[in-house]
Subunit: 153 residues, 2 copies
DNA sequence: ATATTATACTTGTATATACAAATATAAAAA
DNA sequence: TTTTTATATTTGTATATACAAGTATAATAT
């Protein structure tokens, strides 16, 4: 289905506009489906993202600014995100002894267990959307998306 | 810049995963830039979207469910979105006389003027991102994005 | 040693969004 | 006609996000 049919417009869209709309819509669809995957675990997408970042630390703590710079959406609220994870006992936090301004955040075993349980479902989610494209097309889509947004970065 | 460098991961990503991340990130970048365009007009992206839908009606009113079905992100809150536009006098609303359950929303002249002023800036925004791709690549990206998300639609 | 600036994080506030429940009207069924 | 069901929209509530201001600590300059 073309994006025009989805937003039910009769307007003629330029390629530039169609891409914007297609990106918005794709993100929306992907996100909605991913939220369904996470729902039984009572995690938001951003919370999951933080857990992934922490697991990637392989036992080393991450402080707030490290977490923030690794997130896709640079929300200014890593604090409150970590608060939520703390309440669920998926992470621990303590003041860094070397620099008391910093906070050391670590994923707990419980957090690792949740991620481990989610791993296959996350892969399945990725495959669900990519299964209509062959390997070459997948490469192409990645390349084009990177080229598209890479204005001055 | 590759998505891996942006989220500063050393992990090896599958094509499926990279696409998900690239779509998320692209939407983020595009959206952030678009919000900058809208900021001087005190409009959110969704508010702008509603105005566009109303202009597309060419003088005919749109009721809430029509607006909702034409939006990219199906927020359940068209009411409050229209409330905001009403406060700024960009739209009018009245109960439909034929069916008093329905609400007729119309864009005002002021709303049309704002859109008209924004038109070139919106085009510029689209071009800003697409200028790194040639026509063929733009077509390709649109086609791949549509193919990507079109699972069971 | 004290004052200034920078860094790291937290908090406040306003707005946005998600989801469920509530309200009002209309259409269909008993 | 009364009841039931469907439709269209609104409201409540909890959570998320954006942005600015505040706090604590550390580093640098005077």
């Amino acid at each position: 289905m073309k994006i025009e049919d989805i937003i039910k417009t009769t307007a003629v869209l330029s390629n530039s506009n169609r891409i914007i709309l297609n990106i918005m819509y794709a993100q929306n669809v992907v996100n909605e489906k991913f939220n369904e995957v996470l729902k039984p675990y009572d995690l938001s997408g951003e919370q999951y993202n933080v857990l992934r970042i922490l697991r990637g630390q392989k036992g080393n703590p991450a402080n707030m600014s490290v977490i923030q710079e690794r997130m896709i959406a640079k929300t200014s609220n890593t604090t409150r995100l970590v608060d939520k994870l703390l309440l669920k006992e998926l992470v621990t936090r303590k003041v860094c002894p070397e620099n008391r301004r910093k906070i050391e955040v670590l994923i707990t075993q419980k957090g690792l267990d949740v991620l481990h349980e989610l791993d296959p479902k996350v892969i399945e989610h990725g495959n669900y959307f990519s299964k209509n494209l062959n390997d070459e097309e997948l490469e192409q889509l990645n390349t084009l998306l990177e080229k598209y947004r890479n204005q001055y970065i």
